[in-house]
């Protein structure tokens, strides 16, 4: 479903992604871990099409299409969804109105009929139940004044409404209390279907107890330096990332000796 090959990307002249290779098939869940600043969010945003990042090499193929040629809104209508690490506040735009517009854009794209405000209200109420989201938050401006956890729930609510084919969740578990973690995981697992795929950026093995990944990758300094099964997450939890730095140092040294 998603093929990333030798992806290089920079922002403000600084190269952040330095050759990413990743292959995600329909039905799979991939977890991406790695120390702060290693480029996880950058990868997520490049996949979603953030205009500040410049792809300098490599390619991203989504459903056989060149994803990089598409605008972010086209990608979204094609079924890509990014749950932001830091969801953006949009003052003056109501959550419900925004969600309805987004939902109808996707429906139109799929050749389905749009829902009117009343029909959508029912759908929204049903999906909000899944993430146990307070109905009061619907009439408020998008994320404005939401608590950290509410913002994350709102991301999952949007995902539950839009039902993407490829969901990229950037640290959706950070800042969630135990209950919320369970709720969010339920929302994600609901989306887990043979024809969908999920890319999960996280720092904590805990989330992976709820959403069990098929693969775990470690991102370090803009490259995937290690891939494995779900055991890899346990190993990282135990060992931390120091070994990465040691390995990196060793390989630098060997490069010097050579």
């Amino acid at each position: 479903m998603l093929e990333i090959r030798n992806l290089h990307a920079k922002i403000d002249g600084k190269e952040i992604l330095r050759g990413i290779d990743l292959s995600v098939k329909a039905g799979e869940v991939h977890a991406i871990m790695g120390p702060n600043g290693s480029g996880k969010s950058t990868l997520a945003k490049v996949v979603a099409g953030h205009p500040s990042y410049e792809v300098t090499a490599g390619e991203v193929i989504y459903d056989g299409k060149n994803l990089l040629a598409l605008d972010p809104d086209e990608r979204a209508r094609d079924g890509i969804f990014l749950a932001f690490q830091y969801p953006v506040e949009v003052p003056g735009v109501s959550n419900a109105q925004f969600l309805r517009l987004a939902y109808n854009e996707r429906r139109k794209h799929l050749g389905e009929e749009e829902l009117d405000p009343l029909e959508f209200k029912d759908l929204l109420a049903e999906r909000a139940k899944i993430v146990e989201m307070d109905a009061g938050l619907m009439s408020r401006s998008v994320n404005e004044g939401f608590s950290g956890g509410e913002k994350k729930r709102n991301e999952i609510l949007q995902m539950a409404v839009l039902e993407p084919r490829l969901a990229v969740l950037d640290e959706t578990d950070s800042g969630l209390d135990i209950d919320a973690l369970r709720v969010v995981s339920a929302g994600v697992n609901r989306l887990r279907r043979p024809d969908n795929a999920i890319l999960l950026v996280t720092h904590y093995q805990r989330l992976l107890n709820y959403i069990v990944p098929d693969f775990v990758h470690v991102l370090y300094k803009g490259r995937i330096v290690r891939s494995g099964g779900k055991e890899l997450a346990l190993e990282l939890e135990e060992k931390g990332y120091d070994w990465l730095r040691d390995e990196a140092k060793r390989s630098e040294q060997s490069a010097v000796t050579v």
Binding site: G49, D71, D73, V90, G92, F98, L101
Partner: protein
Amino acid sequence: MATATKEKSEYREAWEESQRRAATVLPAWAARRRAAAFETFERLGFPTTDQEDWKYTNVAPIARSPFAAPRGRSLTAGEAGAVAQSLYAEAGRSRLVFVNGYLSASLSSLGALPAGVVVSSLWDALCGGRAEMLRERVGSAAAADADGFAALNAAHLGEGAFVYLPEGVRLEAPLHLSFVAGDEDAPLVNPRVVLVAERDSSATIIESYEASRDSAYFTNAVVEVFVGDGARLTHYKVQRESEQAYHVATTAAEIGRGGVYDLTTITLGARLSRHGVSVRMAREGAECWVDGLYLVGAGQHADTHSAIDHVAPRCTSHQIYKGILDGDARAVFNGKVFVHPGAQATDAQQTNKNLLLSPDARVDTKPQLEIFADDVKCSHGATVGQLDEEELFYLKSRGLHDELARNLLTYGFAEELIEKIKIESIKRQLDEAILNRLHARLEA
């Protein structure tokens, strides 16, 4: 100087025609004031950009154009139909419609009003039993010699409306004063509205300006508002003139003890518009809102000059003006808040925020506070910015087309003011203006 003389003589012709008629019908004092005001107009002429208050707004195009006294006073059936469509349902039985400054009986509709309430053309009020009250009020909130525009309007005294609310009366439905222009070539329209709300009365007034067709004309309006002790007046001004038109207007209000005046001005139309607002709180405990939204695009210039005077202690003023500018639009916001000596416990908040949707748009904003009392709570500020790129990406990442995302963010910028509006039809008009028209213009 030669050109200045020519302009004046052209206006003189128009004025003399209207004065001949006025002199035979209006009270002698009114005719004399008109004559004096016309002399003042000839002496002052139109302001120039050398004058500090007109630095950013060049009215030379008005001075150059041959605007004349309107002759006909009726619309074609088609135009009348279009006007009727645009009237607000909320004021279905409480509206006066003026065509080129003169009352149109066929488009107006007034249901039963509470005893003592007067809603009429200013002309009828001047000719009838209210002449003495008008003699006292006219020109007392907005001086006839403030500038050439004020003088020109005073010289045409008689066009426009008079509204009188006796003590304690409350108008349930909003009262709509609709000014429609443009059924002939380049008319000069000088509406004056005098609103008198006596002690403890309350009402909502909608003052709107629109065109029956897209033509050039000049509206030169003066609105004088008297809010009595404990009275509450909500006032919407909706300016949707033709985009070839010129609109110069003054809204001058005086608020009595504990009175409340809430003014919201929406500026959508006109090639060039200038709105001078002044609110004077000379009695304790008065409160006002002086808010506005200007939404202008290519070829438009919108200027707001506002002055709020805290003369008495314990008065409160709130001001939010927001501007949305597209194309090569220009906007000017100049907001003065004066806290006079002795106006203790003043609370004055003022903000002006501007959203530029195009690199060619420009705004000159100058909020000003002048404080001559020590126990005050005042704040003011101004911003000029573009749509936020992160917000735009966020909306687009959910599948919203670029244009829809931009319109939605633009709407979000204005939402605070749109939400304030309690008349659904006006709200809808604004929704449409923001969500549809802006984009149409971007495309053009």
